[in-house]
Subunit: 243 residues, 4 copies
């Protein structure tokens, strides 16, 4: 499970996706609605008005048709779940909504897989308990995603809790993936931490890739260049052969 693509949908979305698809990605990230820490910040094409929203959805449809890959997208409300429903294969619950229990229930009523990202201050015990908000509603297809927690360390955007990978594998029946892009926030740390995830037993990784990271509207500094993603995939394949 290699989920890759730009952080948010912009005009580089389709070309970047075509490249990562060619290099071996299995799923594509499609950031139509972006969670931000303030209402005045750009929050994705989905929040730019009707026309941008339509355009974003069309781009998702096109890229899915051209690559045949599955589309992963985050929804922040029931309304967004409905808008996205016909265009996505996997829903993502972002870290900022992981403890929003009533929203989790809404995802539990969907018939598509859910990637549940760990909250920034959620203990592993709690994380496991929160799964029940989804499963109690009938949806048992939950993938857990470690994406770093908040600590005193400032060299990285978050502290990637590598122990979470084997802990969640040992204590749940869910698939477990890692997101080293958010987990480190630093492009040059993404490859080594991605490999660490796989070595620790992860079922996959989610990484941000952009054909021109400097032009990305969100998360540029942590997005891999396409060449770096190629290098990562090469190493991932080598690693796969010893397992």
């Amino acid at each position: 499970m290699i989920i890759a693509g730009p952080c948010s949908i912009d005009k580089h979305f389709i070309p970047t996706c075509l490249k990562v698809a060619e290099l071996g990605a299995t799923h594509l990230r499609a950031g139509l609605f972006k969670p931000r820490s303030g209402a005045s910040r750009w929050a994705g094409m989905g929040n730019e008005g009707e026309r941008s929203l339509e355009l974003g959805l069309e781009m998702m449809k096109e890229v899915k048709a051209r690559t045949g890959l599955k589309i992963v997208a985050e929804a922040l409300s029931e309304e967004q779940i409905e808008i996205l429903y016909d265009y996505v294969d996997v829903f993502q619950i972002g870290t900022r909504n992981q403890t929003a229990s009533e929203l989790l229930r809404a995802f539990g009523r969907q018939d598509k897989p859910i990637i549940l990202k760990r909250g920034m201050a959620t203990t592993l015990e709690e994380f496991i308990q929160y799964i029940s908000y989804i499963t109690y509603e009938g949806n048992n297809d939950v993938v857990l995603c470690e994406r770093g927690i908040r600590t005193f360390e400032t060299a990285t955007r978050n502290t990637f809790d590598i122990s979470a990978i084997p802990y969640l594998k040992q204590n749940t029946t869910c698939k477990v993936i890692g997101d080293p892009s958010h987990g480190t926030g630093v492009r040059d740390l993404v490859i080594p931490v991605s490999l660490a995830c796989l070595a620790a037993g992860a079922d996959g990784i989610m990484v941000e890739v952009h054909e021109q990271p400097d032009l990305a509207l969100t998360d540029g500094p942590q997005s891999l260049y396409v060449e770096q993603f190629a290098e990562l995939m090469k190493k991932v394949k080598a690693y796969g052969q010893i397992n």
Copy 2:
């Protein structure tokens, strides 16, 4: 602004409220819907079925009529906002939903004051930015509440960030209150930390009080006995005289 009462509505709700009202509380806590870290846990009378929900609402109505005090209650979804609307004077956004931006927007569309509790991993800078999700929708009556953050310390349930009180006062125009019950999680620390809040410039405090804490369905260990609340109020009044 002294917000007091049991953590969740139970059969001790009315008698406890009558007592804290007599002792000088200005607002009453009414926990009809409780956020919990797992779907299997008791989540308040509001989640026990139609009849319990109705009964809880009636109790809120009665206690308001008998004390004349304002009612503060948490809602975890737009649906719960609607249910509570006619019964509450002030809405509360809980710590687990503080970063759920779309839910914040829904509160921004209400015409009642909002208490926004700080998320467990939210920096003060971010906390200030999140206010905009409410104010951009037209509701400018936001009260900020420091309730402790997640740290390595285990002697207390959270680490109460006392600096948040003056920092938020200096950097926003909002009223700022403290919640030492959740901020410490330890009954015997609630009085000293409440007084510290006021000394640091807080506009009020929110404390859990229960006539029989050992029987409380939630947060018993951090709930004050009524006599302790009486002692706290006495000290609060003495403190008020020097300011």
Copy 3:
């Protein structure tokens, strides 16, 4: 117990000390040896060579003679304990050395009071256990100092754990003081957090004051102006009258 003065001894040391003495300080801070996070940083007059060391010691002697106040100074090694012995009334163990158990034993062999500052990642339970390294050697005069812990919050230099004050008072027989200068790292937060310490039951506070904070060689941004210290002392006295 109001311990005040510049962070480190420099040419403003004596005039600043005379002023804080006049305003009601009970102890003077004398930073001859400064712990720094790298060997290339200025580490106090005590580390500038024989002549500076002598000069610093003379300044400590003079200021003690002129004010009659007690001198508090940090030592980072047994050698520094010996150098300082005749000039100080109270030894301080800094936060960076709080878990250096063999050094604590050396302080335990002294016959002067010890201020033990909490380590940045030390739980309250552990903090209490570390006292034994001092007391087992025979020195029972230990004052505990909360000075903030490391958390994800960046608006303040550390997160001042206000709950530590009542917790340590309730669980030890030691005096407990707070250091809001290091606990916040922000000048404008020092007064409110100092008052919070006293309201929470602290036996005293330790604050950095400098007659010209902009010229301070260390900790300028968190040092109070003399006028601010005057304001603080006025409030401290008003507060004292209600207790």
Copy 4:
């Protein structure tokens, strides 16, 4: 660089060391002096009196002679450095002493390699700066060890900061190793996190192994069984072949 052995020297020390040596360890852990969080706890054979100390040193000598491997041991004071000097090949500075700058200088005056373990609350930037206390004294042979930091997570003893491995490799010229035993505190997480370290670019790992972990006087729950160490070494070797 595979450093293995019991946490502290006890009667299982020699047999355990012989086994890990046979399985491919390159260095042996020899815990003669143990840092503990209180003076009343057992602190290693080195602190049990003259005779135990002598016996412990003899065991170190014997195991070195029989295996030909290098001995790694922690010293907590200058005095302990002297006692250990003739018996060890590599000194270790423990996490609790990492910020004890004057002690670091003492290690800087030794002519043997130093393993510097990261403090529980030390940022990576600070960690790099602290190296200078050793190198300024003339000792440039410093190995950095990530061993987990203090966070809110309680499922693990510490949070192993996997990003530290590539960050320190990219920003220093030192060798970098990981200690998953302390980094997780949970036996069953040690193997996956060890492999993650190597995948992330570590130059080695340090792991606790005990022939009967239930009988270990310290750190039993995080010590690998000998069979687990055998399994780890098998995987380490497989991993080595793809690099």
